[in-house]
Every structure is written in structure tokens, then in C-alpha cells.
């Protein structure tokens, strides 16, 4: 109802000022039309009671009412097409009514004169504000005309003056109203623009966020590594398809579970402990660990996730399928250990036969033959040592090297070492000095054979790289819980840069084509790994030109 009424009153034009004026005109026309209708009704009712005019004579009031209504409708229709024409006609109509509604004397000089103020004010709001002056002029001309040609008197100048004062006031107020409305419209327009711009920006931002999110999601779903994000309570909140595939659970079974629940039936308890301790660790980025997960071997690495201000918001676990690599590692170790075993048997046989020859078990040898046999034995021993080292390295890498703990005396260690390498030192003219400090315990607990291997290896290295001077072996007790030994030589020393890699497998200090001594470069690597296995540590201090000192510290109990 309200809507259709306002549709009737409004005129669809783009200029808001014009629309406002034409709507106002329509409202006034509606008012005029309603007054006309009421007056028509009243006239008809009165004429029925015979209160007015002679029979057969048309009541002039009736004509006026009908004219008024028709005029209003005509102007309304014109208003649809042209606002200013309609308004001008309306104003003319009002002036006409004001002039005709009373006696000329009353219009020009009496009680009805102020009725002419209405079109002046209406002009300022229906047309442009300044048209109030045009209306005032028209009204002045009208009363001057009546005074001069109808009443034959002097025109009513004070009334004209009042018309112009009213026009001035109407102009001022209509103008300020228009300005206020213009300002309001400008503000509205600016607001609209700002809202539109914000909406646009928001839409773009949302689109960007959506694009980024779907990009991240696509990456997460595409990579071969399993990714699970745990919140601060340890519950999984994100899991990609690879994680589901590697861990053997559907994604929805991973979400909301903690790592403990995921590992329960799939991971050995010792590996579970490793992962749990990784998770509880405080470092941002933990080294990766390899664990058996069902029938797979997975490498697991964890990283803590923090927000911009450094507060923890969770942990990312990355799982990588390591099954094939683990298999290859195992195969490599198996091959090395099998090959070593297979190589060892004939080498042992050759050594045995050479020994038989050397000991003249199958007949006496000439000195020359004896010399050849010595060379054969020496080279067989080298080969045998190399095989032992390869086997040790393979066992250490495969984690199958087991230590056998017994009590033994440190002095027996020295005796065994001297028995093994004493001759070599003697041959090179080196002094092999041994000492056991008084505070060394009489019995130590450890793998006697492996400790001996470490010592022999260090001492034979020292002999190998020392051309003159001495090799000092000292067994001592650094503190209550440890014992150890040091091997100091007066050899060529190890350059600083070589000290960093000398304990790596297959690396040697003189790692070049022109190296002076033989060996695969496994000795020190095995020494270090054995010492690590024994929960001990090995240190090296060395100065080029004046010698090296290797120190091994081992725990007294395990």
C-alpha cells in the first residue's frame, strides 16, 4: 500500500533534486485533488438539500471543484514528462485560484492578499529557489493590475514589498535546504563508494585467501611425505592422504587421535619411546628417527610450530617412507658381512699354509724362500685386517655388533697391545713407553676384546705415522666414574681441517692420491664407533710437526 502510494508520487529521474521537486509537486497535487474531491462532495450534498442556486442553474462552485480536480490530474500527468512545466502550471493555477477566490479589492488590498504568499513560497521549493522572486514579481504585477485597471487606485506597494521579503526568505531557506540535501547526498554517495570499495577489497581478499588455502591444500595432498599436524594437546588436527597411506589409517581415524594411539599396535615399544621422547623434547627441530611402522620403515621428523610471537601452537610430524632404503642398507650390510666371511676363510687358509712353510713343517727353506714367505704372511695379515674392519663397519652400521662385558685388568690390555704391535715399533726404531697410573682400578668392566681392538688400532696408527721418537701409552683414571687411556706420539701430526673428518669411514688425514701409507681409512672410524657403543668418548689433540694424542674415556660401570 505504502509502496504503491510512493510509486504513484515518485517520478523516476536521475537528478535527485528534480525528483525531489516533482515528488513534492505530486504530494501537493494529491492534497489539492483531495480538497477538490471533498469540496465536490460537500457541494453535491448541499445542492441535494436545495441550499444553493436556482433549479436548472449550474452551481459555479461545482464547476470550480471539477476544474480543480481536472487541473490537478492534468498537471500530475504533465509532471510525468516535465517537472518545471508542471510546477509552473501549478503555480499559475494557485495564483489564479487566489485571485479568483475573493473580491478584487480583497485580493489587491484586503484579507486575501496574503494568499498570494503561498505561490511565492511554493515556487522556491517546486522550481529553483530563486524562482520565488519571479513568483513575487508575477503576484506584484497581478495586484498592481487589479489596483490600476479594476479598482483604479494606487497599487499596493507595501504588499509588493512584503512579497519580495517573503521571496527573499523563501529563496534563502530553499537554498540552504537544497545545499543541505546536496551535502547529505554527497556524504551518502561517498559512503556508498566506500562501502562498495570495502566490499570489493573484502571479496578480493577472500578470493586470495581461498586461492592460497587451496594451493596449500593441493601441495599437502600432492606430496609423497606424510604430514600430520598435532595441536598443543597432542591431538591430530590435519593429516594428508600420504600420512593416511603410510600409517595405515583412514584420514578420519587419524584426526583427533594422539601419536601414542596411532603407534599403539603398529610400532615396537622401544621405537614408541624414541618418538615420545622426540615429542617431549624442547628443540624446535628434532633430528629425524627411523622406526618400523607396521611392515614399513618410516623416517619421522618433528618440528614445533609457533605463532608470530613465538607461542607454541602445535607440532608438525613428517613421515617418509624409508622401507626401500632400509632394505638396501640391510642388504648392503648382509653382503659385506657375507663377503667378509667368504674372504676370511681362504685368507686364513693361505696364512696357515704360509705359516706351515715358514715353520719348515714341510721341509727346510732357503733364506730367500723364507723372505718371500714373510712377505706373503705380511700381506695376508693386511688383507685379514681389512676384512675384519669391513666386517666390523658393516656390523656397526647394521647395529648387529654386540658387546660382551667382562671384568679384566688394564695391565692385560697393555700386555696384549705390546704383544701385537711391539715388534712393529721395534722395527721402526720407536720407543714404546707404557704406564698405568696408581689410581687406575685393578679391574675394569667392559668388552675386553673391543677395548683391546681400540687400543691396538690407535697404537698401530701412531707407529705407522711416526718416523722417529716414541709412542706413549698411559692408562689413567680421569674421575670417579671413568677410566681411560691415551696414546701420544711424536709423529707428523694431523692438520686441523683433517681432524674434523678423520673419524669418518673411509677418510684419512692424507686423503690424496700420493698418500704414503696403506689402509682403507676405516680404523679410526671403527675406533670412534666402538667407543661410542661403549658409551665412552674419544678426543684428539694434535699439532702438525710435533705429534698427536688420542684420548679415550670409558665409563667404569654400565
Amino acid at each position: 500500500m505504502g509502496k504503491s502510494l510512493s510509486r504513484l508520487l515518485e517520478v523516476a529521474v536521475t537528478d535527485p533534486e528534480d525528483a525531489r521537486r516533482r515528488k513534492l509537486l505530486n504530494i501537493l497535487l494529491a492534497g489539492v485533488g483531495a480538497i477538490g474531491l471533498l469540496a465536490l462532495l460537500a457541494t453535491l450534498v448541499l445542492s441535494m438539500f436545495g441550499a444553493a442556486g436556482q433549479p436548472g442553474e449550474v452551481n459555479p462552485l461545482l464547476i470550480a471543484c471539477i476544474s480543480l480536480i481536472i487541473g490537478a490530474v492534468v498537471i500530475y500527468v504533465i509532471n510525468r514528462f516535465s517537472g518545471w512545466v508542471a510546477s509552473t502550471l501549478f503555480l499559475a493555477l494557485i495564483i489564479l485560484i487566489a485571485v479568483l477566490a475573493d473580491q478584487p479589492v480583497q485580493v489587491a488590498e484586503g484579507r486575501s492578499i496574503m494568499n498570494l504568499v503561498i505561490p511565492i513560497i511554493a515556487a522556491s521549493v517546486l522550481l529553483r529557489p530563486a524562482t520565488s522572486f519571479v513568483a513575487a514579481t508575477v503576484c506584484s504585477v497581478v495586484i498592481a493590475f487589479i489596483s490600476l485597471f479594476v479598482l483604479h487606485t494606487v497599487p499596493n506597494f507595501p504588499a509588493m514589498f512584503i512579497f519580495f521579503i517573503v521571496a527573499l526568505i523563501a529563496w534563502l531557506s530553499a537554498r540552504s535546504l537544497e545545499n543541505a540535501l546536496a551535502d547529505l547526498r554527497a556524504i551518502n554517495r561517498e559512503l556508498d563508494q566506500r562501502v562498495a570499495q570495502r566490499t570489493q577489497e573484502l571479496a578480493e581478499a577472500l578470493a586470495t585467501v581461498h586461492a592460497e588455502a587451496s594451493k596449500s591444500k593441493a601441495i599437502l595432498e600432492g606430496i609423497a611425505d606424510g604430514v600430520i599436524v598435532f595441536d598443543t594437546d597432542g591431538k591430530a588436527i590435519i593429516a594428508n592422504p600420504a600420512a593416511s597411506n603410510l600409517l595405515g589409517y583412514p584420514t578420519e581415524e587419524i584426526i583427533d587421535r594422539d601419536i601414542q594411539a596411532l603407534m599403539e599396535t603398529k610400532v615396537r615399544s622401544s621405537d614408541q619411546e624414541v618418538i615420545s621422547s622426540l615429542l617431549s623434547g624442547q628443540e624446535m627441530r628434532q633430528p629425524s628417527v627411523k622406526v618400523g611402522w607396521g611392515d614399513k620403515t618410516l623416517s619421522v621428523s618433528l618440528a614445533r610450530v609457533t605463532d608470530a610471537s613465538g607461542n607454541p601452537i602445535g607440532t608438525v610430524a613428517v613421515f617418509r617412507d624409508f622401507t626401500r632404503e632400509a632394505e638396501l642398507d640391510r642388504m648392503k650390510s648382509t653382503i659385506i658381512s657375507m663377503t667378509s666371511h667368504e674372504l676370511r676363510t681362504p685368507v686364513t687358509a693361505i696364512l696357515g699354509y704360509a705359516d706351515m712353510l715358514k715353520e719348515s713343517a714341510v721341509g727346510a727353506l732357503t733364506d730367500e724362500q723364507h723372505g718371500v714367505i714373510q712377505r706373503i704372511i705380511f700381506n695376508c695379515q693386511r688383507l685379514s685386517n681389512l676384512i675384519s674392519n669391513l666386517l666390523d663397519q658393516a656390523q656397526i652400521e647394521a647395529g648387529t655388533l654386540k658387546l660382551t662385558y667382562t671384568y679384566f685388568t688394564p695391565s692385560s690390555l697393555i700386555e696384549e697391545m705390546v704383544a701385537t704391535v711391539g715388534l712393529a715399533a721395534q722395527v721402526k726404531g720407536l720407543e714404546l713407553v707404557t704406564a698405568v697410573t696408581a689410581d687406575t682400578p685393578p679391574l675394569v668392566y667392559g668388552d675386553a676384546q673391543r677395548v683391546s681392538q681400540v687400543l691396538v688400532n690407535l697404537v698401530s696408527n701412531a707407529i705407522k705415522y711416526t718416523d722417529q721418537g716414541s709412542v706413549l701409552v698411559r692408562i689413567f683414571r680421569p674421575d670417579e666414574g671413568h677410566w681411560g687411556f691415551e696414546v701420544a706420539d711424536t709423529g707428523s701430526g694431523i692438520p686441523q681441517e683433517a681432524q674434523d673428518y678423520i673419524f669418518e669411514p673411509f677418510r684419512r688425514a692424507d686423503d690424496s692420491l700420493t698418500r704414503k701409507s696403506s689402509g682403507a681409512g676405516l680404523g679410526l672410524s671403527i675406533v670412534k664407533q666402538l667407543v661410542n657403543l661403549m658409551k665412552g668418548e674419544i678426543r684428539l689433540t694434535s699439532t702438525v710437526g710435533s705429534g698427536s694424542t688420542f684420548t679415550v674415556i670409558l665409563p667404569l660401570s654400565i
Binding site: R344, T348, A349, G352, D355, M356, E359, S360, A361, T404
Partner: protein
């Protein structure tokens, strides 16, 4: 007077020859037995003074042969030298064997040890 008798129970042909050579050099008569069941059969009919025993044998395990020798009063005088490559087994058998040698075992080492065990004098080809 005949020399003491030694059994070399070892499946590897070369090692068996070398061990036998060492025992012979130590002044013993030697017999090579290259499988567990052959060793058991010979032990039933002979009483060796020295047994060099490999632990990894076909058919009957070396540890079973060692137990058999230790439980048979007829073989009470036999000195058993266990030869093994496994240090852990060596430790375990220390109490049951007269000597445990960890492979590789050299000719001269076995010759001298066998001579000491039986009180014979090692012969040296060049001597």
C-alpha cells in the same frame, strides 16, 4: 712307544690340513674328521689324547661333541682345544674346554700349544 693321538674335527679342508700339520709338528699322530657324525663314530672306538674341535660342523654340532666327550669317562683324559670364530661362544665354553682358541689360529700357535698340553717336543723341519 707310539705318539699321542690327536683328532682334528674341522669341516674346512684347508684348516683341517693346517691344524693336522701343526699337531704333527708337535709330535702327535693325527686323524682328520670332517663332519660331526664321523667324529662321533670315531670317538666311540678310539680314545684321542687331544681333540681340536670346530664348533660349526655338519650333522652334529661341536657343542654336542664337547658335551659327549666330557660325559664319557672313557674319554676323560682327552684334552679339548675348541677353535671358534665367535668370541661369545669362546667365553661360554671357557670352563668346559681345556683351551679355547679364537680363529684365525696360526700354525705355530697351535703347534706350540699342543706341544705344551701333551708334553711333547715340537719338531722343526729345519732343525
Amino acid at each position: 712307544m707310539s705318539n699321542p693321538l690327536a683328532f682334528v674335527i674341522e669341516d674346512d679342508e684347508d684348516l683341517a690340513i693346517i691344524f693336522a700339520g701343526a699337531l704333527k709338528a708337535a709330535g702327535l699322530d693325527t686323524r682328520i674328521l670332517r663332519s660331526g657324525d664321523m667324529a662321533m663314530a670315531q670317538l666311540a672306538v678310539s680314545t684321542p689324547d687331544v681333540v681340536v674341535l670346530d664348533l660349526h660342523l655338519p650333522n652334529v654340532a661341536g657343542t654336542d661333541i664337547l658335551r659327549h666327550i666330557r660325559n664319557d669317562p672313557r674319554l676323560a683324559q682327552a684334552r679339548v682345544i675348541v677353535a671358534t670364530a665367535d668370541p661369545r661362544l669362546a667365553d661360554m665354553l671357557q670352563s668346559q674346554a681345556d683351551l679355547v682358541l679364537i680363529k684365525p689360529i696360526s700354525f705355530s700357535q697351535l703347534r706350540d700349544l699342543a706341544a705344551r698340553l701333551t708334553g711333547t717336543t715340537p719338531t722343526n723341519g729345519s732343525a
